[in-house]
């Protein structure tokens, strides 16, 4: 997470990398660049609190066992961190609405890799539906990347497409993140403390 002055929006912006999330009630602007990954924006416009994550599931999404699998848990974790952060900043659970962005087909490969974008998008919609958080808008799929800006207080999202010629660094960053996410999911042993 880095904070910098962005010449496009002429304001200070917090940039989120894959795996990161942020939430604020101070009218902050978040940005992120998406290839296959998905960003979910969650906000409560009445209380002027909002936030965004940027994640990718480390593997396939298959059947009804989904939420009991490691992939499902990984996605739930990414969503829960964001929702908890928005609530901690003063958002009310019952007022939360969502926007879903990303899931472009930008990672090279076939089989599992080629299904990654759809998996991520399907997961996001399914999760939000189950949690009863309405999706008020979305911009997903396609074979391009996206740069988005979130105005956290209003939930307003600005989006710019990134064409194929500029996607290589985005895809590389996401591939590194995916490898890290797989390792994280395997390091679960350290997570239990018995008193």
């Amino acid at each position: 997470m880095t904070v910098f002055f962005d010449s496009h929006v002429r304001e200070e912006v917090v940039n989120l990398l894959p795996g990161e999330f942020g939430a604020s009630r101070e009218g902050r602007i978040y940005s992120t660049v998406l290839g296959s990954c998905v960003a979910v924006v969650i906000y409560d416009a009445a209380n002027r609190v909002g936030g965004m994550n940027h994640f990718m599931l480390p593997g396939a999404v298959e059947d009804r066992r989904f939420y009991a699998t490691e992939n499902g848990r990984y996605g739930m974790y990414a969503m829960e961190l964001l929702i908890n952060a928005v609530i901690k900043e003063g958002g009310e659970r019952s007022r939360l609405v969502a926007k879903v962005v990303g899931g472009g087909s930008v990672l090279a490969g076939s089989g599992l890799v080629s299904r990654v974008p759809d998996n991520n998008v399907n997961f996001a919609f399914d999760y939000l539906g189950t949690e009863g958080i309405p999706v008020v808008s979305s911009h997903v799929g396609g074979s391009f990347g996206r740069k988005i800006y979130l105005y956290a207080a209003s939930g307003r999202v600005l989006l710019r497409r990134i064409g194929k010629g500029h996607l290589a660094p985005v895809a590389e960053e996401e591939a590194r993140y995916l490898a890290r996410a797989r390792t994280d999911a395997l390091e679960a042993e350290k997570r239990l403390t018995l008193f």
Partner: protein
């Protein structure tokens, strides 16, 4: 008779996940959305430990959070039922608070399904 586990979490997704993982190996899973609802549910049981084998609770929940819930449980006939905290909170200060109020364990998300099964088998026995 199947062991019964009470899951207390405001996320229906999380409850469904726990229900599936534990249900598949024969546990009966009861659901509550927050600490208050869980206490009301517990009040319908007699508290001799045979009916509720274990409680799993989140920390951050509306109405009544997990730490307050554990404190309340310790004042009921269910005070000897093992309580596992299952949360995204990983800070030592939070874990210590859990230990102080009487939780039996602290599991940080995300974790492996087998890990949940192992800890439930250990604590619920």
């Amino acid at each position: 008779m199947a062991k019964t586990v009470l899951i207390v979490d405001d996320s229906p997704t999380l409850r469904a996940s726990v229900d599936f993982t534990l249900g598949e190996v024969g546990y009966r899973v009861l659901h509550a959305q927050n600490g208050k609802e869980a206490l009301e549910l517990l009040a319908q049981f007699d508290g001799n430990g045979e009916e509720i084998g274990m409680i799993i609770t989140d920390v951050n929940m509306p109405v009544m959070d997990g730490i307050s819930f554990i404190k309340e449980v310790k004042r009921t006939p269910f005070k000897f039922v093992p309580i596992l905290v299952m949360t995204t909170e990983a800070q030592e200060t939070m874990k210590n608070e859990g230990r102080t109020v009487g939780a039996s364990g602290w599991l940080v998300k995300p974790f492996k399904p087998e890990q949940l099964l192992n800890v439930v088998a250990k604590l619920a026995s």
